[in-house]
């Protein structure tokens, strides 16, 4: 067991945990606003090129997007269960849940890379590299530029999340998260849920309607 470190500016661990939690929520909210800029741009382009965006959505491989939704929803559950494990002092359970979350994150990336390979092959690339012959319109170009921007940005966040989850899994097996103090684990789980949240909104606008 490792004793939690108390920052000199805090009077006790509870005070420190509350400050860390609030700081993490501010970070999460700023990330939501960052993604909001992309969603707003998507909404504007979709209003300008509705038929091209509809064609782009129908062209995207629905199975890849849906499989990734299932993977991320499941990983959201395992990340939340890791917090539950720490709260009930189950060290191994917490470590296993965090490792599973990281593994599911890698599965998401593998599916995403397969899908990217398909797009590269057919030429549905962003901006000036776009040469997809079945949708040779400016609206089609805008759709796939948004697609690459939004999913790429999401994948970057997810890659960081996988590293965080892997690191936290090691620390969980070492017994660093206890029922008394596990706020850093809560923060990691919060970050992972944010990634989950983003895909919940990306899935319908890129693969469904």
């Amino acid at each position: 067991m490792h004793a939690p470190e108390l920052g000199e500016q805090f009077s006790d661990l509870e005070h420190q945990a509350a400050a860390l939690r609030f700081g993490m929520w501010v970070f999460v909210v700023s990330e939501i606003l960052l993604f909001a800029a992309l969603f707003t741009l998507y909404a504007a382009y979709r209003t300008m090129f509705p038929s091209d965006f509809r064609a782009g959505v129908l062209h995207n491989t629905f199975a890849y997007g849906t499989a990734n939704l299932f993977v991320l929803l499941t990983s959201g559950l395992t990340a939340a269960l890791a917090v539950f494990g720490a709260r009930t002092d189950r060290r191994v359970f917490t470590g296993v849940m965090l490792s599973t979350t990281a593994g599911l994150g890698l599965a998401f990336l593998a599916i995403k890379l397969t899908e990217y390979g398909k797009h590269i092959e057919e030429g549905s690339l962003p901006g000036p590299w776009y040469h997809y012959s079945e949708l040779p319109t400016f609206g089609g170009n805008r759709f796939f530029t948004m697609y690459w921007g939004m999913t790429g940005f999401h994948a970057l966040h997810l890659t960081a999340g996988v590293l965080v989850m892997g690191w936290m899994a090691v620390r969980a097996f070492q017994g660093r998260y206890t029922a008394r103090y596990h706020v850093k684990l809560e923060m990691g789980s919060l970050y992972w849920a944010l990634i989950d949240l983003m895909w919940i909104f990306l899935w319908p606008i890129l693969y469904l309607s």
């Binding site: 939501i32 606003l33 990340a79 709260r87 789980s189 469904l208």
Partner: protein, 110 residues
């Protein structure tokens, strides 16, 4: 600070609800085709899913007033931004041609 969750059941129930909502979204997109409304329905379902993720997986139900206020303000700003930008682009029209210049002063001198 509210009481901490001591059971795994809420997480499992939330997960099942998330899968069910994804199924609803999927069924709508495949079985029903309402132009202009498909996306609205899917986003409404996604909003419900997002709410569940925030409330249960992100433990929003256990946070204090200040966190909820920060989230509420940022989400309302986000919705305002989305609404205004979409309304702006959707209501833009091609401007009519500029009026032709009137006759020169020499015209009135005759």
């Amino acid at each position: 600070m509210m009481a901490r969750r001591a059971s795994a059941a809420p997480y499992l129930l939330a997960y099942l609800a998330l899968l069910l909502l994804a199924g609803v979204s999927l069924a709508f997109s495949r079985a029903v085709h309402w132009p202009h409304w498909d996306l609205v329905i899917d986003l409404a379902v996604a909003t419900m899913q997002g709410g569940l993720v925030m409330w249960v997986f992100m433990h929003l139900s256990e946070t204090g007033f200040q966190v909820r206020l920060a989230i509420g303000v940022s989400l309302s700003l986000l919705l305002t931004l989305l609404f205004l930008v979409t309304a702006d682009v959707a209501t833009r029209q091609v401007q009519p041609p500029a009026p032709r210049p009137g006759p020169s002063e020499a015209f009135y001198e005759h």
